[in-house]
Amino acid sequence: MPNTTITEPEVTLELAIDHGLNEEEFNKIQEYLGRMPTFTELGVYSVMWSEHCSYKNSILEIKKLPNEGPQMLVGAGEENAGLVDIGDGFGCVFKVESHNHPSAIEPYEGAATGVGGIHRDIFTMGARPIASLNSLRFGKLDEPRVRFLLDGVVRGIADYGNSFGVPVVGGEIYFDENYEGNPLVNAMSVGIVKEGETVSAIAEGPGNPVLIVGSSTGRDGIHGATFASEEISEESEEKRPSVQVGDPFTEKLLLEASLEAIKNGGIVGMQDMGAAGISCSSSEMSAKGKCGMKLDLDKVPTREEGMTAYEMLLSESQERMLIVAEKGREQELIDIYEKWDLNAVVIGEVTDGENVTYEHHGKVMADIPADSLVLGGGAPVYERETSRPTYLDETRNFDISTLDHSNDHNDILSRLIGSPNIASKRWVHEQYDTMVRTNTVNAPGASDSGVVRIKGTNKGLAVKTDCNGRYVYLNPRRGGQIAVAEAARNVVCSGAKPMAITNCLNFGNPYKPEVYWTFKEALAGISEACRTFNTPVTGGNVSFYNENPKNAVFPTPVIGMLGLIEDMENHVMTPGFKKQGDTIFYVGADRKGLGGSEYLNTIHNKTTGDTPFIDLEFEARLQEALLNSIHSGKVNAVHDISDGGLAITLAEMGIFSGLGADISIQPLGDDANEVLYSEAQSGVVVTCAAEAEDALKSHFAEANIPCQKLGSVKADQLVIDNAVSLGISDLSKRYESVIPNAMQA
């Protein structure tokens, strides 16, 4: 082969810097090895120590998040994803991950491989993915580039997920100019596994064979992890080859074959190959098992000829796994993968030592202590400088009362319903298969969270992603608290008890002190909320360097919430009005404060003020009382108040059902703008049959939660005092047409 004669470049500090390492890190590598690294070794260190793989700038903060609770079977960080006990002998594995940078330059493949990667994280543990969600942020929809990105991302998610055969059951999309140039594409997968059938990502037992299974290895995605760990710039377009290419068909085969293999037995450990491919999976499994591994790269099935060791170790070709098998049982596994027309090749074995050793053409190309590469081992850990952003003084001191607040509420409400942030996302979710596997009880659209049943039990899961980046921008700590609180409230509104969260922490460049201050504050807020709601963090992902040429995008720590429904027959709740004559209540805290609201943004073109107030203890009591009321069968509809405020909540309950309402907001205060559009936390709208009115009132009175009757469900008009009078069908038309119209432009 002619290419084998290519000599490797000489390793120098300059080359290390080109690889994204700094001088201190380059010295550390030489210390670990006791010599100068080879070119291949430098490549391996550079990806393993990239932000994406090493979490070097975030791990100290992440470790402060609460990760324990009686519901946890496997804690955060122990495996690819945490495992939550949901009873009946089942565990739930779930995780959210970002694919922001690939999606910014190649939206279709970026989003598709994001979906593929997160599902692999779930089934490599032995769990079958049963639901997925995605949390997306884009610039303003009137920008052609944004429409191109939205179209590509949605097609990417659709084509991958639909073919793979897992329903999308929820998610959210926001549009704000702040995300221009650096969209956020976060994908979440939820899987279930029978207790005792999980697989660990560990290498153990010297002499045990190591297999690579799934797709063959190509040159795609080399340095993807490094690319994810720097800011997007004009040169980013040149990194398009760093974006991997997805093949959902192969992933589907890999899923079925892997679950069959796990059932068969003979597997010691298994890890999927995502970022940093073979390097990452082999070193992490070895470090975890405190052993070594010797791999012969000549045996790796490749897509193209002449690949170097460097390329093979850094390739991020998708749909691959590394398996450590029990010695003597490898053929059973090979047979199963071959049945599914997949590669399964023994490429080496577990060794006694502590090094991962990679040979190519009979020559050792890299020989590295596994522990020196990995998070929790020798990978660098940094505490970054912080500084409170100066913009906060301006936003906090902004006096919202100085704005000219119109009292034409028909106009305001119509404009809010027409904001792409509030309008129906049907255009998006109809492109996703939301029903495959026949478990979807609450699909995207008219639901506060996605609900899937678990066949063979009376249980179900309610899942939701949430984060309002404006809130985190205006008050990072409170914004972090609210992200958790809202996600929890959403699953409660569907009838579920919040169990645990996963998070995807999207922030700017951590070397900017203001970004890092925001990061620390937001995480502190998440911690406080998780402790209050008893929802430990089971795992997640950090995505730094989300910046466009103007600034960092809104700090956006997306929360993926898992809720458990014990009685699918009687406890599932939906937000649409149910019956004319039903009584409508507002339940919760005062409707005060317009800071950070969709109203300020849509009507006044401002993102300012302070994030709405939240009292976590009150929120927890509200959620408990609300859940009890749903379980008691007293309520007919429940809808959370969030973006757009009370007015939008009422309008949506009408749109979802085709029914109207006759409402008076007098009991809630005198300032109609504030009562109608405040995004104050800890508030929900609840309906019940007129006969149940007193019972419901006393239920909330006993829990010491304010509950005000606002009116009742009517035929087809939304009437609010003499402020609003709109036909539900007109509202509905506007709600449904905004995004389709924009995408046709």
């Binding site: 073919s163 055969g165 085969l253 492109q431 996703y432 026949t438």
Partner: protein, 234 residues
């Protein structure tokens, strides 16, 4: 009456195989088994379901590769013997590619995948799949496909019409065959057709997803009840 066994084919990339199995085995309580695409023995099944999904990734063209799977020769034999075959979504596409049903699928007119609840009108009760329905009956059944825009030339279409081979058409809730209801652009609002011998049905909508009220509709049961009923009286 002897116990009838339903077989659900499994191609690499099938992803509605378990849904069809669940519908038959757990909702309809019928004897049901999976048939791996490399198997070539269909002697112990009485009814075949070719399920939805993305067989072979639907690369090249939906169903175009699956038709070359080893089991397809047996499926053709099975159908030629007059035994019943139901192709759902990708299964319908495969039956078209295999020549067991006439016509072809184009991309949906909006060039996007569409997943939603739609209405179908039963156009004929003269098939074992619809014997329990009444002509003109409206069913709510979901669709989930990117290539479901049924096409055939005018002569063949006339043949389908004359032979009463159009089993389901897309309609609105009131049963009217509007253009809006025909969301994917199929010729003559066609959602499902059968062969001349009336033992092979292909349909794009997913009756196996409409088996339980909790999931939005149980109208799909009417089709499977027809099948089981026909078997019972056979």
């Amino acid at each position: 009456m002897s116990v009838k066994t339903f077989g659900v084919l499994v191609f690499p990339g099938s992803n509605c195989d378990h849904d069809a199995y669940h519908a038959m085995a757990h909702v309809m309580n019928a004897e049901t088994k999976f048939i791996w695409h490399k198997d070539t023995d269909l002697s112990d099944v009485d009814f075949l379901i070719v399920p939805g999904g993305f067989s072979y990734g639907d690369y090249l063209r939906s169903g175009a590769i699956a038709r070359f799977s080893p089991v397809m020769q047996e499926v053709t034999q099975f159908a030629m013997q007059g035994k019943p075959v139901l192709g759902i979504c990708n299964g319908f596409q495969i039956l078209l590619e295999a020549g067991l049903l006439p016509g072809a699928m184009l991309h949906n007119k909006q060039l996007r995948y569409v997943c939603k609840q739609v209405y179908l009108r039963c156009e004929t009760t003269n098939s074992l799949f619809t014997s329990n329905l009444s002509a003109g009956q409206v069913l709510q059944i979901p669709v989930a496909h990117g290539e479901g825009n049924y096409f055939t030339d005018p002569d063949r279409l006339k043949e389908l019409q004359d032979n009463d081979q159009i089993v389901f058409r897309y309609c609105n809730a009131a049963g009217e065959l509007t253009e809006e209801a025909n969301f994917n652009g199929s010729v003559d609002n066609i959602a499902g057709i059968c062969n001349k011998q009336r033992n092979v049905l292909g349909m794009m909508p997913h009756p196996e997803r409409a088996m339980e009220k909790a999931l939005g509709s149980d109208d799909g049961k009417l089709i499977f009840e027809s099948i089981l009923n026909q078997f019972a009286t056979a």
